[in-house]
Structure formats: C-alpha cells, structure tokens
Symmetry: C2
Subunit: 359 residues, 2 copies
C-alpha cells in the first residue's frame, strides 16, 4: 500500500499537481484498501494530498472508513455537504491544482469542482499495470477457482441444456468456492459463438454442437478471465481446421514471447498481437475482430493492451490474456483465451482448464 | 419505447438541444431496449437526434445491435474511431448543440466531444420516474422472488452461521428463481446492525442475537429492495421498544400517504420523510441518519427521493421505498424497508415478506 501511494505521489509531483481526488471505487480500494463503496454509485471519495490521505463519505460508511489505517475520515451530510468539506481540505493543504481521474470524474462533478481548484485530468490506471505478489496470488486463486468450476460443469453439458443453464451452473460453482464472478459469463452454442460478445440466451444445445464459454472468477476484488471452445459429439472438418488455427496462433504468440524474454529484449504488446493475427490471416481467415489480449486486475480489462495500436510494453509483474479467435458469421466461432504473467523474466500460464484435443 | 423516446425528444426541444448522446448503459437500455453493454465499461453509445436513433459500438456487438428495431447501427474500429463516426453523424443531422448525461459523461469524453459541438449537460434520470405497467410488473416479480428467498432462508438461520453464509444462501435462492441480485446483500448481526451499510462479514451469529438483512432481486434489469430485522431467541426490552418505534414510524408515513391520496392533494416526498423522522425523534432517538426512502427501477436508487431536502412529489406510476431506522452504536440497529407503488391514486405495497410480530 505504501509503495502504491509513493508511486501516486510521484505522478503528482511529475504533473505539478498538489493533490488528487480519487472517485473510482477501484482506485480507492487500490490506494487506501477500503473496498466498501458500491461500483454503481458515488458513495465516497479519497483525497490524497502530499502529506495526508482522506476518505470522504456519508454517515452510512462512517464506522467502516474509521477502521481504515493511514487515512483520516471526513463525513459529509446535508448540513455539511461534500463540496464544502473538499473546499476546506483544499484550503488547509494549499491545493491550487487538483488532479482527477479523467476517465471516471463526471461532467457534473467537473463543473462543480472546477470552482475550487485548477482541475488537472490524469490517467492513473497504468499505475496498476505491474502487480505485487499478493495481487498475483489473488488472480491465480481466481484462475484456479474458474478452472475447477469449468472441469466440474463440462461433463454435465448434454444436448437440450440452455446457454443460460450452463452460465448459471458455472456461476454457482464459482460462488460455492467463496468467490464471485468477474463478469456475466458468455455461453454461446453453435452459430451464436460467431458473435464475440454473444448475450447468453435460452438457446438449447443440439447434438454435434459447438460450445464457447468465456468467463471468470473474482477473489478479493481481483479478476480472472478464460475462454474455452469445445464440442459435444462430432466436429466438422471446417471446425477442426479453424480450431487448430486458433490454437496454433495462440501458441505462436506464446513462443515468440518466451523467446523474447530469454533474449531479454523489449517486448512490444503490439508485436505479440501481430504474431497471432498474421497467422490467422495467412490461413485465409478474416482478421481477429478484437485485440489479441488485455491486462487484468481489479478490472477485467485494464492496461497493458495487446492490440495493433498499443504503445504498451510487456514487463515483469504484468498479467494479461492472449485470446485469438475466428468468427464465421452464421456458422460458428472459436476463441481460446488464457491468462499469463511475467515473473522474473519467465512466462507463466495462470489458467489451466483442459482444452480440446485434436486428433 | 415510443412514449419514452417522445418524452426524451420533448426535453431536447425544451432545452433547445439538437440531439443527445446517451452513455449510461441503463439509459441505452431504457430508450433503445438494448441491454447488452456491461455496466462497468464504455462498450457503446446511443445518439438520439430529432429524427433518428443510432447505436454506436464496436464489432463485438455488431450482430446484437443490428437486431434492435427502430435504431441504426454504426460500428467503430481503430480505422474508423468513435469520434469520427460521431462527427459525421452530427454533421449529417446538423447538430450544433449536443446534450449529454452530465452525471455519466466522463471528463475525458467531455474534453474530446466539446470539439464537435456545444455540449449541453442534461439530467435525464427523472424521465424514468414514472413506471409503465411492464416496468411495475418486473419490479413486482423481483419483489416476490426476494420474498420467497427470504422466507426460505429464515428457518435455516441458527446460532453459529456467519453473515456471509446467510448472504450467500439468499443469493442462491434468488438465482435459483432465474433472477439476479440488485446489490450485494447486507447481512448484519448484533452490533454490526448499528452500521447502516455494514459490509457483510465472517461474524458468527450468537444465540439471542439480532439479524438485519437488506437485499433485493433483479428481473429484466429491474430491481427490488427490502429490509427485515428480526431475532433468534429473545430480544431485550430496549430492542423491542426500538423495533416498535421503527414499525410505527413506517406505518405513520404509509397512513399519511394513503390519506393524502384519498384527498387527492399534492404529496411532497419531503413531508413523508418528515412524518417518520419526527416520530422517531419524538420517541427520544437520534434522527434517521439517511433518507426515509428512494425511487427504484433500473437503478436501486433513483428519483423520487424521500428525504428532508427533496423537491420531488409522489405521483401515480412511481415506485419507492419507505425505510426508517434506528441505529444505536455499539449495541444494535433496526431498519424496516418496503417498496410501495401508487397506481390509480391508490398505494400498493410490493414487498410482503413476513415481519417480526411483537406481542
């Protein structure tokens, strides 16, 4: 927590900003350890000045925020509204320029706060790009829980079951292990799998159908993410060829990455994307209609981004997905997604649920 | 859907605004019926001009948005980014002033879009304040599912169970009925109940302990919300007196509301708050540390607000909670919450799970 705060304050110094107002519940969790605010509503704020950290919230959370170490609580109410409290603190700490989370602060808030200080829009999500061993452990645990959930439900998938029923069993298996889901599972049968973000429906599984499942678990706020595509019954030659292409394109990216790590060269995330993407195109398929992968942590999608336009480099401490796909509209879709981390210059795969064996 | 769109366009006309860019997934759901975008990320937009409705998203959702009636899809990509697509549409429809959701648009988006048109900050959540019969039916269904979940789990609550276990059983009972939860259930034992928004913990239930449960179900995107407080074993005289005070303060608000409806007078939401609040204060307790109630719909908390500073009036078609509470720090807390709707000038209670009977 102290390292994180030091990094945040270095950014403030670099940007010549006197303080930052954290509005995203995930940022507040990351920098103060308090994770009680709901994600959907604005239930509180954190103000980080050069010297002090404040948690500002309503009486509803007074007890909870008082228990958080290294922070001072400030309780707002109709008699003492948030804007007045903030104003007092800005004056107390001589804050003339106030950093904000540009991707989270709303226009209403901006219009209100710009009367109090010069507002400096900041991007702070990249400060979370390298994970500590505790963060990696939480994500590894989420991956293992998802692996177990997957292995448990697959034998129960039979013709006649609906996408929603499969999604619901997966959720239950994740919850039974004390975790939550990191996003609504995508379960797509047959031609529904050709839609990368298909909305899980009441579609029933037919015999000789293809199944795509994209889902994740969440442990202590940290997310996992994994996709598997498989068949009940027989797959066609066309399906086998597409599956093999996706599998090899993923392997190609992984192999390239391992070699680059051995050589200790800089690894551009866009290069990894290109390796997989080019292989799929060379085999005569349309390009992947999404990025090859994304970082993961408190959010399912966060830096680094593995896409054609990415400026990120892949380095020690990062965790990211590699998930090539082929989507044939009206026919079927294939995607294989695993999470990887770089630790001490070595690549480790975090998701291990079994994959289709092509014979 | 057409009535909703007409109301939105009337607001645009009234505010002399040529179009509105919807950014909140809930607004997009409400006005276009498309509910595929995740709540946590910006996966798409809707642009509503005087003549047309557009859904703008990436290739991931192309198939899904193409299936939505009365809207035109526009797919953005790295070659054809969102800002360029938006610019073209604004030019095509001669949009000089662009309305935005001031409580949802981020500062980054504002900085980017203000180059394209004059940005008009709008508040559109109040347009959802009156519910249609379909919306009321969905909320009623969510309430009934929550009622059943509650009645099923209560007999299983015994000394030794943890708050998290109770929350988990509730969630399972809701999911087994095909619904989801509208928010993380609050389960608080004994003195934890004195914290209005206690974070459900591993605290174990003792014999003769008090239990507060605040939770809801979600059906087709529509939320329910209910709180019950009860005891296993014996309650103390102090607890009984506080419970009775909360119950009567809720009844007082309901009775006042019913009489006002009979008289067909205007009903100020702040008056309803005052009735309950004053009763609790008169009995010698501290005032309720939160509002008496809130509207509910696609969001758990939305207009109308039943609080001291509210300017809302309660009218036909609205659905709201009435939830007085007494919180005695270090001792215990009591809250009773039910949802009500006004239909054809009559008040109906939507939540019916059983309550403590004081003898």
């Amino acid at each position: 927590m102290r390292d994180r705060m030091r990094n945040l304050r270095s950014l403030l110094a670099e940007k010549k900003t006197d303080a930052i107002l954290l509005t995203s519940p995930l940022s507040i969790h990351y920098y103060t350890s308090f994770h009680g605010f709901a994600l959907e509503e604005r239930e509180g704020f954190a103000l980080i000045t050069k010297e002090k950290s404040y948690l500002l919230t309503s009486k509803l959370y007074e007890g909870a925020v008082n228990a958080i170490p290294d922070t001072t609580s400030q309780i707002y109410s109709s008699d003492s509204p948030f804007a007045s409290l903030l104003k007092q603190l800005l004056i107390k700490h001589s804050v003339l320029s106030l950093g904000v989370e540009a991707n989270n602060l709303t226009l209403s808030e901006f219009m209100s706060f710009k009367k109090l200080a010069k507002i400096i829009p900041l991007q702070i999500r990249t400060l979370r790009i390298k994970k500590t061993s505790e963060e990696i452990a939480a994500i590894q645990k989420a991956c293992t829980i998802a692996d177990i959930a997957f292995e448990t439900i697959v034998p129960k998938i039979k013709a006649g079951i609906t996408e929603k029923q499969v999604a619901s069993s997966l959720e239950n298996k994740i919850r039974n292990q004390g975790a939550t889901i990191s996003f609504r599972p995508i379960v797509a049968f047959g031609k529904n799998a050709a839609i990368p973000h298909h909305l899980t429906s009441d579609q029933k599984l037919m015999s000789n159908d293809l199944i795509l499942i994209d889902f994740g678990a969440k442990v202590d706020g940290y997310c996992s993410d994994m996709t598997r595509t498989f068949f009940i019954g027989k797959s066609t030659e066309e399906q086998k060829k597409a599956y093999e292409t996706v599998a090899i394109s993923q392997d190609a990216a992984v192999t390239f990455l391992k070699q680059a790590l051995k050589k200790n060269t800089k690894i551009r995330a866009s290069d990894i994307d290109m390796i997989s993407r080019t292989y799929i195109e060379l085999k005569g398929y349309s390009t992947i209609p999404h990025s090859l992968g994304h970082g993961i942590g408190l959010e399912v999608h966060e830096p680094p981004y593995l896409g054609p336009g990415s400026i990120d480099q892949l380095e020690d401490g990062m965790i990211f997905s590699i998930e090539p796909g082929i989507y044939l509209e009206g026919k079927f879709g294939i995607r294989i997604e695993d999470l990887f981390t770089i630790q001490n210059g070595r690549l480790t795969q975090l998701t291990t649920a079994s994959k289709l064996k092509l014979t």
